[in-house]
Every structure is written in C-alpha cells, then in structure tokens.
C-alpha cells in the first residue's frame, strides 16, 4: 500500500451510546498529533439525545475546511438507521465499508455505490480487551487505514480519556492490526509541521469577539449558536467581561445595546429565529448610532426549519431585514478559521462606525472542528470615537464629513445627551422636520458608504476569464475545486466576498475586469446572493447560478465541473 493520499475521509456511524463522536474526536486528535490537518463534522438522527449518529473525519496534508467529494471509508459500529445518513455520506466504488457481521450487512443504499465491504468483528475484538469498546477498535481500524502512526493514536487517547486509557490503547491497537490486513488509503507524509490550532468555528468567532474588544455578551440559547456562547461565558469572565443569559432574544439584543451605550463593546449570537426577533432593536442601533455585533450562525430555514443543519439563507434578512432605510454592516467569514478575524473585524467596524454589524457564520463552520494554521492577525486598530467636553453644547449626532460623530460615554461630564431611536437633530432632540430626517439619513448612509475596507472585502484568488463568486462556507469546496482545476492547468478567478454590506461595486468591478463567465455559488434555494449581486453590481458576461438549499454541502467535484465546463 503506497502512502500517496493527500486526503482521506472516513465516517464512523452507529446508534446512540456507541461512542462514535468520542472515537471521531480521537481520530482528529491523532491526525493532528501526526502533523496532519483535519476536519470533523457530525450528523445525528432526530432524537434529542442518544439516537444514531455519524462522525465524519477528513485528514489531509493541506489545510481545508471542506468535505471531500466522497468518503473513502464508512465504518459502522452497527447499521441501525445509518441509512438515514446516506445522502450525507457519499461513497464510490473505491470506497470501503467496515462493519461488524454481528450487526448484519451494510444497508443496500451503501453497497449499491460499489463500495467494497470488509467485515471486522468489532464487538468480538473489543471483548478481547478488559474494558475495551467496539468504537475503540473502529478508531484503530480507521487510523490504520489512513496510516496514522500508533504513537499519535496513543497520544490522542491519552489526551482524551479520563479513565480506561490502557484499555483504550489496547483496543485501538487491535483495530490497527486489523487495518494492516486491508487495502487502505495511506496518507502522504507531511513535511514540516506549522503552528496549529484545533478549533471550531463557534470558538473561533467567540475568540474573534474577544480580540475585537467585546466584554459584554447577552444571549439566549439556540442551536447551532449555543456552543459559541458556552465557550464565551467562562472566557469572558477571565478577560474581565461577562455573559448574561437573557429571557429571550428581544432582551439579549437590547441588553447588548445598553452595555454598548455605556461604552463596553457588546455582542450577541443567535441563529435565524433569534435574529428575526432582534430586527427591531438593530434598527435602534442604526438610528441611535449604538455599536453592536450579532453573530448569526445560520441554520436551515425558514421558520424553525432544521435546527442542526446548515444553510446560507439568512442573507436576505441580514442585508434587508430592517424596517426603514437602515444602513449597517454585514460580514461573512470565508473559512472556519476566518471566523476569528471576520468577527474581530465586525466588532472593529461596529465600534468605529457606531453601527450594528452582523456576522454571517453558519452551522457548518460553527460546529465543525478543524486543525488550522494559527491565523496571522493584522494589527489594525478600530476604536470608537469618544467625545469630551470642550465647553460647547454637545452635538451627539453632529453632521460630520465622515458621518461619524464622537460619542459621549456616560460618566463624562459636560456632554450628557439622550440616545434616541426617534429621528432627531444634531443635538439628539426628536425632530419630525424633513430637513433633519434627510440630514441624518445621509449622515448614517455616509459613514457606511465611505468606508474603505481595503483588501479585506473579499479574498480573490486566480486569473482567467471565468469567475466564481461566493461567500461563507461555500468557499472551502470552491477553493478545493479551483486547486484541482489549476492543477490541470485551468485557472479561473475565485472571489469570496467577506464584506457583504456595504457593497463594494468598484472593487468587484476591478476584480471581474475581463471576465466572460460568472458563476454564483450559494447554499440556498432562491438565490439570495445572486439577487443581491444583481441589485448591487453589474455582473459581466454570462451569469450562472449554482445553488441548492441546505443541508448537503457542495462538493469540490461539482464546482470543479462547472468551472472547467467548456
């Protein structure tokens, strides 16, 4: 068996209590310990807890947060209801199925892909080790199939298990031995190991918030944003901040506004249903010019939808959901690890422009765990312009050229004022005069439209007269598709937008100069991104929409085909 794979994807499935997530996490840790990059995503049945589940682990010699086209290995502790995951676990004739004869044959939906079946007596082998479990045998088999070294596996088990380490290691080694008998998918060696983190998108966004200066968070739990909050709660306490669990999302966003009005950068995190409830207060942030950040970890909509699955369909509400003309910021991280920088940036923009900012993450980023290179942080400084008394009557909403007016922070004498969601004049006094309304509308629009995001507005890769436009978690598979095309000598342009609002027509125009064919890639049904692009930009050449709703992620192969299509 040659070590010629630069990426191997395996899935481990089984019913509740089988320990597939535990084993999946250890496999990821083992891959990391061996110097590889890795990504783990998960899926489970409808049960609140304990039903069938699958851990999907991809190990690679290159950094990626995308799932591959197919899984090389699907292993199952048992096959109970695993067929429900068939669409999420694409296999091919080169794939192999691992299962325990004691639990019957693999479901037809998997065997009909042409995947070869190799039974392994997981249960029986586990019985050979005192305190051994079938999932640890499976872990060993999977690690062995990829060619992960035994030491890495041991290290991972040591790190993860509180008790039963010996038994775990013994069982995993039995699994490793089984793998030696099988045709595997050995990973290429990875040369130098860079400095890495093991992190989920939710943790990354939480950390980005803290880097941006957030010290107050108010929130209401909601899948798939809850882990972001659960990571932030103790972390905030450590850095001198706090998290308040609010009674609902109306409270959480208004608490955040109150704290921010008090001078403390503030954030909340939620998903679609919660964002819906925050719309009114976001408008208050716009009019009263109080910075605030909302991280929307998008899930499948509309309404309650599918709480545990991903989709990119909150673009409309994020961009256009507010009543009235309410200019604000919308930022989308374009990789799992970019959740750090994108959230930090959003906080900086909110603070420096005194405006609400929405970060569009999604369930895919939020709940996936990946080995990533430690991000290089730029030293940008975004600060809230604070006012001090100069003896003049204070104009909170002064009509400055930039549209930004220095803000008085409670406690500062001589410049007290009332922040107001009613239309107002420069002093902040409510006004129903059309002149004041127009002047303040223009001020609020100006501070957003004058913003120059530099190169941060998008990541642009490649050359050529085909361009693919996308955002968020579709970027990962697109990057991989581009790499494949490029490897075959076909270059094209990948433009992944990070700044969705304000739109950057001049920059996109430049990025698309000379382009003849535009592909617009997004994970939703109605083409929200396409519609947004059409309304804000002039797209050159022939435009094709590549879209489908969640939860199935785009695979590199399908994007690749569209890029190179003659």
């Amino acid at each position: 068996m040659k070590a010629n794979h630069s990426s191997v994807s395996v899935a481990l499935a089984g019913s509740g209590g089988a320990g597939v997530m535990t084993a999946g996490n250890m496999l990821l840790e083992a891959a990391a310990a061996a110097g590889y990059y890795g990504l783990m995503t998960r899926t489970s049945g409808p049960q609140i807890r304990g039903g069938e589940a699958a851990a999907m682990v991809r190990v690679s010699t290159f950094a990626t947060d995308a799932q591959d086209d197919r899984f090389q290995v699907l292993a199952a502790i048992d096959w109970q209801n695993v067929n429900r995951f068939a669409t999420e676990l694409p296999l091919g004739p080169e794939s192999i199925l691992i299962g325990d004869q004691a639990h019957g044959e693999p479901p037809e939906v998997f065997t009909k892909t042409g995947a070869r079946y190799f039974p392994v007596p997981l249960k029986q082998l586990a019985g050979q080790v005192q305190g051994g479990w079938p999932n640890m045998i499976a872990l060993g088999v999977l690690a062995g199939l990829m060619g992960l070294p035994a030491q890495a596996l041991e290290a991972a088990i040591n790190k993860a298990m509180k008790k039963g380490v010996e038994a775990g290691i013994a069982a995993a080694k039995l699994g490793l031995a089984q793998a030696a008998n099988l045709d595997g998918f050995k990973l290429k060696e990875i040369p130098a190991k860079s400095s890495r983190w093991l992190i989920t998108g939710n943790e990354a966004a939480g950390y980005g918030a803290l880097r941006g200066g957030v010290r107050f968070v108010a929130a209401y739990p909601i899948t798939p944003a809850t882990e972001l909050l659960e990571w932030l709660s103790p972390a905030l306490t450590k850095v001198g901040g706090t998290l308040v669990q609010a009674e609902d999302e109306l409270a959480s966003i208004n608490m955040a506004l109150g704290a921010s009005y008090g001078g403390v950068p503030a954030l909340t995190a939620t998903s679609g249903p919660g964002l819906s409830l925050m719309i009114e207060a976001l408008g208050l942030g716009v009019t009263a010019e109080v910075p605030v950040v909302v991280v929307d970890v998008m899930r499948t909509g509309p309404s309650t939808g599918i709480a545990t699955k991903s989709e990119q369909a909150d673009l409309n509400i994020a961009l256009y959901g507010l009543h009235g003309d309410a200019p604000h910021i919308v930022i989308a991280p374009n990789s799992l690890s970019d959740c750090v920088a994108a959230t930090e940036w959003a906080v900086g923009l909110a603070e420096s422009l005194q405006v609400p900012a929405i970060v569009l993450s999604d369930q895919y980023f939020g709940q996936a765990r990946a080995v990533v290179d430690v991000p290089a942080f730029e030293k940008k400084s975004f600060h809230r312009a604070k006012a001090n008394s100069n003896g003049q009557p204070y104009k909170r909403y002064a009509l400055t050229d930039s549209g930004v007016s220095p803000m008085a922070i409670p406690g500062t004498p001589g410049i007290t004022y009332t922040a107001d969601g009613l239309e107002h004049n420069e002093r902040g006094t409510p006004s129903s005069q059309s002149g004041d309304h127009l002047a303040q509308m223009e001020k609020r629009a100006r501070k957003i439209s004058q913003l120059d995001p530099g190169d941060a507005w998008a990541s642009i890769e490649g050359e050529g007269d085909v361009a693919l436009l996308t955002f968020g978690s579709c970027t990962g598979p697109a990057r991989e598709a581009f790499a494949r095309a490029r490897a075959e000598g076909f270059d094209a342009r990948l433009v992944s937008l990070r700044m969705l609002a304000p739109a950057q027509p001049a920059k996109l125009k430049q990025a698309l100069a000379g382009v003849k064919r535009v592909l617009v890639l997004e994970q939703n049904h109605s083409g929200q991104f396409l519609r947004y692009l059409r309304s804000e930009y002039e797209l050159p050449g022939e435009v094709k929409s590549l879209r489908r709703p969640g939860p199935l992620p785009f695979r590199p192969e399908e994007i690749y085909r569209e890029i190179v299509r003659p």
Binding site: A32, A33, S195, R196, W197, L198, I199, E203, Y207, L210, R215, F216, A218, T237, K238, V239, G240, G241, T242, V244, A246, E247, L250, A251, S252, N254, M255, A256, L257, G258, A259, S260, Y261, G262, G263, V264, A266, E280, A281, G283, L284, A288, V374, N388, A408, P410, G411, T412, P413, G414, T416, Y417, T418, A419, D420, G421, L422, G428, T429, P430
Partner: protein, 278 residues
C-alpha cells in the same frame, strides 16, 4: 474625567434640561420629572453619573428632559437596555422609566425577569391606565369596563397588578407613589435608589387627556396604613387585597444584587489561545 471632589452641591434644577416636554398641559408626568430631578439632587449625584433609560410612550419621553445621560430605546425594552448598561457599568446610577403600556404590556416579560435577576437599578413606571402616546387605548392596568374606540364597552379583561407581579417575581423593593405629590415621589425614588438590587416604584400619574377622570386620584391616594414588610408572604397578602391607592414603600427584600462586570481581568487573550493550541 470624574467630577472634582469639591464640586458644589447640585439642585433639582441642575437635573432638568431645557427641552420643552411634548406632554399635554396638566399631565402627571411633569411632576414625575420634578420628583426625579429632586431625588437626584437629594442623592447628591451628578448628571453625568446617572443614566435614565426608557422605552416608547409619553412617559418614556422623560430621559431627554433631564440633564443626565439618556437612552430612549424601543417600545417595551427599557429594562433589558437598563440591565445591559448597569451590568456593564456598575459605577453608574441607572433609572429605568416606563409606562403601563411599555412596561406591563409589551415589556411584561422583561419586568418578570428583571425582578428575578435583581440588577441594582431603579424602575419607575408612570402608570396612567392607558396608552397615552397612541391616543387612548386600554393598557394592562385599564379597568375592564373602560370604553374606547378599540374596545367599545371595555375589554372585559382583568387588570394587571404590577406590585403583586413584582413581588411574585422577586423584586427587592416595591413602592407606590402618586405624582400629585412630587415630594413624596422624590422621597420614594431616593429610597429606591439607595436600596440595593432591583427597586420598583409604581407612580400613579394621570393622563388628563384620555383619562380626565384620573384627576380624582388626588382624593383616592393615601399613605399606606402600615409600614413596609420584608416578609414576602405577608407582603403578598397585603398587596393582593390592596385597592391600588396605598402610597409608600410596601416591601423591602434582602436579596443580593446581580453582579456587574468584574473589575479586572485574570487572564490575557494569549492565555485563551492556549485552549486551542495543539
């Protein structure tokens, strides 16, 4: 930027801004404004260290009529905004002002949870048993038989009992005031601010425009016949049978207030990265 220690004592006038209120002549809220400014002077606070947070309604217009920092938010959300502010800035004195519509109708859930949470702020509700701002619809405290365009012949719905709800939800200080006696209101606000935790002052404040009969409240309001209690069960019995016109402090609890932002960090950001590092 703190005020110099030697700054001269301020008077109520120093807390009144020069904006002309939009209120109708004779509105009870004028006296509440006076009472607030008097109370702040009596508390020897400075305007820059006080924030007045409100929602939407005639009553909720009060922040800008003071010289304090003000936050005139959206309808019904004054308590969350005030909560966020006070937790983030424990050094400030935070007054949250509301009306019976803002506070008890759309804002009712925040009322329940603010009472439980017990953040150290003072909640002043100007209750006129009507939606003044939107021109005369029944509010939660409106009598079931009060006829209006929206509910001809009355809503038939039992009134909301704010003080009982406050007690049931865990408010730490409960008082009723009547705007006809601004000095009395001021004294109660002073006591409320001084009491730690969530203090609730319900102020009967007539709407002379849509409820002109409330001018008669002058006759009904009277000092509560007994001193306040710190026993919730006893307070419950009293409040359940109270006719709505007993004025004074009615309950004081001893719960510890909700904690604000810690004074100093214990870790650096780099420390947190340790959790991700491989």
């Amino acid at each position: 930027m703190n005020a110099p220690i030697t700054s001269p004592a301020l008077t109520a006038k120093d807390f009144k801004s020069d904006y002309k209120p939009v209120w109708c002549p004779g509105c009870g809220d004028y006296s509440v404004l006076t009472a607030v400014t008097k109370a702040l002077a009596m508390l020897e606070l400075r305007p820059e260290n006080v924030a007045v947070v409100s929602g939407i309604g005639c009553s909720s217009r009060i922040p800008a009529y003071t010289t304090c920092y003000g936050f005139h938010g959206v309808h019904g959300r004054s308590l969350p905004a005030g909560t966020g502010l006070k937790v983030a800035r424990p050094d400030l004195t935070v007054l949250v002002a509301s009306g019976d519509g803002d506070g008890y109708s759309i804002g009712g859930n925040h009322f329940l949870h603010a009472c439980r949470r017990n953040v150290d702020l003072t909640y002043i509700v100007m209750d006129n048993h009507v939606y003044g701002m939107t021109k005369g619809q029944p509010s939660p405290t409106t009598e079931p038989d009060w006829s209006s365009k929206l509910a001809p012949g009355g809503t038939g719905v039992r009134e909301f009992h704010p003080l009982v709800i406050a007690l049931a939800s865990g408010a730490n200080f409960i008082a009723r005031a009547f705007s006809g006696d601004p000095n009395g209101v001021a004294a109660l606000i002073v006591e409320a601010v001084r009491h730690p935790g969530f203090s609730f002052v319900e102020v009967l404040s007539p709407c002379v425009t849509f409820r002109p009969e409330q001018r008669g409240w002058k006759e009904s309001a009277r000092p509560a016949p007994v001193a306040y209690t710190d026993d919730p069960a006893r307070a419950a019995r009293r409040l359940m049978t109270d006719d709505g016109f007993n004025i004074g402090v009615l309950y004081k609890g001893r719960r510890a207030p909700f904690a604000g932002l810690p004074a100093a960090p214990t870790h650096s950001l780099a420390d947190l990265e340790g959790g991700f590092r491989l």
